[in-house]
């Protein structure tokens, strides 16, 4: 067990999980003295019929104050203010957010505006500015990956003032997260794969990072074991409800781990690749995770090796000599990627060269790699990475991840 010299851990979100968890929303709201929610979601989610499922499950129990399904891909202060007006005009007393990261961020922003009666959201940006509980916020994730149902941060863009406002406070944590297998049942296999690998990266980076602690370790181990033992099955049998629920649980556990222990080089480079080339976050995570582990291995061999147990199970762990376990972990993740590649007819990418957009065009041209390395220098995740990472280091990793060749660890500075 690793007990760091000092750590903080908090996961204050109430969890309600199950195959019929949605039906418990009216009761959960009542406990929070609320019963007239504003439902916030986006067109993709409502188009897939998921909001109908939610409404059907709760409409007998409560009055729905209003419904807004026009959250854009990118959160914006304009949308937040508009939704706050909808909330007030319809006398809502709580918020239910259905969707992924941008829906949750938007909902958190709306909650600040309606709870603090804020005319300018900017006044509340920053760390720890909020000092009291906000209105009840329930979140229903529709992918098993981001973990934003348990994170205390939100990013909202002000397109007019060209600002990116970041908010962080325990009061921004949702009051309740609902994990219901129906919400992810129709997620296509290749998206299931990449979003789950995002969760996997959260757990692995939290476990091997500088801010690891016993509680996030316990969350990470459980998350890795759930994801590893269910992911391929779900990809092959998307209607597997048990497997879906297991992945949802895994993603939330991984979210609890990384919201307390943060992430590292995999996310730094992943965010950069996302912003330079528009590659979806989960795809970046699947590809980069083994490289991040290789890059840090000379400092984290022990922890990386331990992960072979939840990943591959007791037999493989015991059958692998101690000094080879860290490499075994990396190989295992590569094999997962290969298996998912095969199971999705090649849609799950193994390296950046083979990442294609909808029209089949290559998304990451080789000449963009320098830009990605440059952008990664501006990503905060690197602070929590065990090893230093400069421009040359980033470039070396992203080049290897582009080609799909394992990292030549003898070239890492300081090895």
């Amino acid at each position: 067990m690793y007990l760091s010299g000092y750590y903080e851990f908090c996961c204050r979100v109430k969890m309600i999980a199950g195959h019929d968890a949605l039906e418990k929303i009216p009761g959960a709201l009542a406990q929070l003295h609320a019963g007239r929610p504003l439902i916030i979601t986006d067109k993709g989610v409502s188009g897939a019929g998921l909001v109908d499922t939610v409404v059907d499950a709760i409409k007998d129990g409560i009055d729905i104050g209003a419904m807004a399904d026009d959250v854009p891909q990118d959160s914006s202060v304009k949308v937040v203010n508009h939704l706050a007006d909808v909330y007030r005009d319809n006398n809502c007393d709580s918020i239910v957010a259905v969707g992924g990261g941008s829906v949750m961020d938007t909902a958190k922003g709306v909650n600040i505006v309606v709870s603090e009666n804020a005319d300018d959201l900017m006044k509340f940006s920053g760390v720890g500015v909020l000092k009291k509980a906000l209105k009840p916020l329930l979140v229903i994730p529709t992918t098993s990956g981001t973990g934003s149902e348990v994170t205390l941060a939100a990013v909202i863009k002000d397109h007019e003032r060209h600002l990116k406002m970041a908010f962080a406070s325990y009061f921004l944590l949702p009051d309740v997260a609902i994990l219901d297998s129906r919400m992810t049942l129709t997620l296509p296999p290749f998206l299931t794969a990449s979003t789950a690998m995002d969760a996997m990266a959260h757990a692995v980076e939290a476990y091997t990072g500088l801010a690891k602690n016993p509680m996030s370790d316990a969350n990470a181990i459980a998350a890795i074991s759930l994801i590893s033992s269910n992911l391929l099955n779900v990809i092959k049998t998307p209607s597997d409800r048990e497997g879906r629920l297991a992945l949802a649980n895994g993603a939330t556990l991984a979210g609890a781990a990384f919201s307390n222990s943060l992430v590292g080089v995999v996310h730094a480079l992943g965010h950069a690749t996302g912003s330079v080339c528009g590659v979806p976050h989960g795809v970046c995570m699947s590809i980069l995770l083994p490289y991040g582990l290789e890059y840090n291995m000379h400092k984290r061999a022990h922890f990386t090796g331990e992960l072979l147990l939840p990943l591959a199970g007791a037999e493989v762990y015991v059958g692998t000599p101690k000094h080879l376990r860290a490499e075994g972990t990396v190989a295992y993740i590569r094999k997962m990627n290969q298996n998912m590649h095969d199971a999705t007819d090649g849609r799950h990418a193994r390296f950046f060269e083979e990442v294609k957009d909808r029209d089949g065009r290559r998304m990451v041209p080789r000449e963009k790699l320098e830009d990605i390395a440059e952008a990664a220098l501006d990503d905060g995740s690197i602070v929590y990475n065990p090893e230093e990472c400069d421009y040359e280091d980033f470039l070396m990793i992203i080049r290897a991840a582009w080609e799909g060749a394992p990292l030549d660890r003898s070239l890492i500075k300081g090895v």
Binding site: Y7, E8, H19, N213, M215, A222, L226, A256, Y317
Partner: protein, 391 residues
Amino acid sequence: MFFPDNYEFYCPVKINSGNRALEHLPVELDALNARKPFIITDKEIAKKGLIKKITGAFKDSGITLGIFDGVPPVPDLKLVRRLMNNYRDTGCDSIIAAGGGAVVDTAKALNIVVSGRPEDLKESAGEDLIKSPLGPFVFVPTASGTGFETSRFATLGGLSFSSHFLMPDLVVIDPRMVTSENADAVVSTAMIALAHSAQSYTCPAKNPMTDTYAYAAMQFVGENLANVVRSGDKKGRLALANAATMAGIAFSNSPRGMVHDLGWAAGDISGLPHGICMGILLPYVLEYNIDSEGYHMSDMLLPIAGFEIYAGTAKNLKARKAINFIYDMQHEIHDITRGNIPLTLKDAGISKDALDGVARAAVGEGRLGFNLDDCMVILEHAWEGKQITSS
């Protein structure tokens, strides 16, 4: 890995643990919008100079503190009323409880009344009768406790409370606060943590969230208890205080199990610390349930014995190995303390005739699926020190 078809889990507790944790109190209170804390403790703890450590942590913060250091072993409602007046008269807005057991019960009861009205205390006795969050409440553990501190439970003046709102907002585990205690108190506190977490981890109502807290707690105890008893190992003591906190959280989200109820009743009758009795009983109860809960007990081997032993043990032997690990740990502690920590209920000073009373008290307490006969089988084996499966 197991997870149930559906579950609910809630833990409002933030944990700050480690070097200089106390010094983070002013910032943490500020985040809870609190400016003037009311520190509650007892004479014993104050005498050890531990309260000075807390007040010292507020240096440079400009904060004024209220301090009450006179919680008696059995606090009553009159005390709560008196403290309420102190709290209100001096304009306090938050509570810091330092120490275990009665201190925390008093703090929780005080928080009910200062967050609402004095009548609330009687009206909120019972299950889930507190309707809204209470005021900011911080718990600073010392080396000994009853296992209820971080939990949703409190008892005081004949009233029992159970509500998630009674769990602390923050637990501050600082090495300077969890200094030496006698072996009895250390073992008792750790065994309560182990019993609560093992029960939570093996019960049918377990879920991935309770599992993480129980997992961490078992890991802490499994790795550190013997060392702490042997050498007072500093890091180990911090780990055990962590275990007590995690176990309280798992315990709060799981049914109260057989070990708890039997151990509690045996403690009341023998006069031994409750945790010592729970420790004696834990492996027997696990053995008794090995057929129904063996699957989860296999998983338990990982946190309690570590990666290598877990992975190196054949699947069908893992549950048995976990139980034996606990037996071995008991024997080790028994040896280190030269027999001071008993291995059997007999050595704990309980007469064979008293077992029936223990069983009745436990069944009377419990609302769970076990009956007198179950209890007697376990108690008789634990009295004699005879493993159940070998009989």
